[in-house]
């Protein structure tokens, strides 16, 4: 049961699928067994989405259960809160400091909770927040948020940087490789600065 369990949570349309594919490809290079569970169809239309990446000697279920996640990559704050029960107490939780209101909030039937990041940090010592949207914008496109987040995560992994860059090259469309490499590197460096702080 020494698998590494990773979750990527966010809002349909944020590029969680691409991120999970980059992770999956990088994991394959480690020589371990890998499973990646994705979400397609209706939830992809702006709903809450979660993908799982599990690697280890032998992976059975492709799904991560509550209390089992070693790493959660949260593309949006509210989604971090929604899936937080899945984290181990010492899980590395990386939260993009971005807010996307769900429809019940937009139409006034629910409120968006306050200070989500602070509350999660108070409970989970290894939670960090990242201004991934700003970083992506500086890199040239807000759509690169997903790869910025992968870059942040990569800094905390044992997989060498080259393996990640190679996975990006294999996964994204040729015309976006440079943009995504830049986004990855910037996220990677940002995480390095966090570590050194």
């Amino acid at each position: 049961m020494n698998n590494t369990n990773i979750m990527i949570v966010g809002v349909g349309g944020q590029g969680t699928l691409l991120a999970s594919r980059i992770l999956g490809d990088a994991a394959l290079n480690t020589g371990l067994d890998v499973k990646v569970s994705e979400v397609h169809g209706m939830s992809q239309r702006g709903g809450s989405v979660v993908t799982y990446v599990k690697m280890g000697k032998k992976v059975h279920s492709p799904v991560v259960e509550k209390g089992e996640a070693d790493i959660i990559l949260c593309f949006e704050k509210l989604e971090a809160l929604r899936w937080i029960d899945y984290a181990k107490k010492d899980a590395r939780i990386i939260i993009n400091d971005q807010r996307i209101d769900p429809m019940p909030v937009i139409i006034g039937k629910a409120t968006y909770p306050d200070s989500i990041i602070e509350k999660i940090k108070a409970e989970y010592p290894n939670a960090v927040d990242v201004p991934a949207l700003d970083i992506a914008r500086e890199c040239g496109s807000i759509k690169a948020v997903n790869v910025v987040m992968v870059g942040v995560m990569a800094r905390h992994s044992e997989v060498p940087k080259e393996v990640w860059l190679d996975a990006i090259e294999k996964t994204v469309k040729p015309q976006f490789i440079e943009l995504n490499k830049k986004a990855f590197n910037t996220g990677y460096d940002y995480a390095g600065n966090l570590l050194n702080r």
């Binding site: 890998v34 397609h40 169809g41 702006g46 279920s61 019940p104 139409i107």
Partner: protein
Amino acid sequence: MFLRGETTMKKLMLGNEAIARGVYEAGATVATAYPGTPSTEITENIAKYDEIYSEWAPNEKVALEVAIGASVAGARAVCAMKHVGLNVAADPLFTASYTGVNGGLVLFVADDPGMHSSQNEQDTRIMARGAKVPVLEPSDSSECKEFAKAAFRISEEFDTPVIVRLTTRVAHSQGIVELSDKEDYRIKPYVKDPVKYVMMPAMARKRHLAVEERMARLREYADNSPLNRIEWGDKKIGVITSGISYQYSREAFGDVSYLKLGMVHPLPEKLIREFAGQVETLYVIEELEPFIENQCLKMGLKVIGKELLPVTGEYSAALIREKVLGKSFEKLNNLEDTAPPRPPVLCAGCPHRGTYYVLKKLRLTVTGDIGCYTLGALAPLESLDTCVCMGAGIGMAHGMEKALGKEKSRKTVAVIGDSTFIHSGITGLIDMVYNKGTGTVIILDNSITGMTGHQHHPATGFTIRGEPTKQVDLVKLCQAVGVERVRVCDPFDLEGFEKAVKEEIEADEPSVIIARRSCALLKGVKFGPILSIDSEKCTRCRMCMRLGCPAIVDRSDHIEINPTQCVGCELCARVCRFGAIGKAGDSNE
């Protein structure tokens, strides 16, 4: 990417992609399908192999008929669909079971426990039992590929169509697959054989006997097939399971004994008895219906299954731990906040938003259908009254008219997508015309099959491989079946569209409005710059909020447009009476 023909190459593949690889390696040459989550990527991936002819068919019934034809001609042929698609294809399936095959004929049917993207959670195994065809059930991507190949061999050996049943978690999970070379399958000669292929009563009676004899041979095969295997561990607990439930069981129970079934219909009775006889407590772990469990009970075995576990929804290792082993999860934090739900929404820039805004304003009863536009049922648009199955909206609108009379049903319209209309809406429209209905049908023509991720269909003018082809002209099609009032409108021209709807529901004859505007996610759809709200002009009347656009948010002291969500479609600017919404200046970002 991998290199074709290279052996011992490992690749991470989606279950659906692995199925496609298996189809390729088996030497199949004809593949046909109608898209449906979670099955769509099977055919999308098959289309990447030049060696296989592939197509999107108008619906699953046609798809299966094409595959049956290819099989009779001697090719190995496949057909993919979601569980509810098999209902549409049930007619040819039940009789193809009688005719049997020439080249191997395999159906890949993907069930959706938990209904991630479906209107029901029916169990394909029950359908297969009705049709008397064997069912294989892979547990991961590697088995997806292997079982696809085994299915062809079984199909040919036993002269039967074979169903490979997937569920969402298998279809949409990636796992490691070892690639092999393509088999050298040669098309078998076709020999005229009316007793086998012409199912009229005299011949069908003979074939039904052949089917029963085949089922007996298949039961024997199941007992000895390598698809079914026992994994011995601690014999205090024995678990009979299949598909994804096997994976969940392995995590929940750990090192106990397993009878892992790769073939779930017909079931291997001898093997089940052998296994049951050697374990102390016997569990059956299967999602949805108690299919294996009931068979065990019928055999007089004492098994535990649905008395502890639900027939609804998806299973998980955690669920099995809790319900069967009594180990529930203990929360690791003191966070009390609950996250408000985030249901799916129509995308920013979605053409359906304009349609539903008008239909809601006119307070119409709207019989709906299956597609992205079903999301029009949710707040704040809340326009849709019904959703049953592909094509149902038109028939239901007609039924409402016949129940209530012309006058009382004037405020009823049917909405249906372009792809869905071709799938099975056209027959409903013919019924309405033929039987003197006066209903109004709105075809939401976004020029693509949207929800399943942008597949072409007969009215887009392109094939599965993006090659130009004849395009069904929806206007002429509707006219040809006898609708004289057919008009094309832009659903973002809110005034013009409203006028059209008002006129057509007043008409005393059937009418069709084609609400034509491309899906906002299609390549080539370009809007203007993103928008922002001028707080000085905004009176906070909240008209724009009624659109239910995910980009427009109420920050309690002001309303703003989220620049990361806005696509610049300008629909909100059209409903704003105060000219407060305009192009975002650089200073606003």
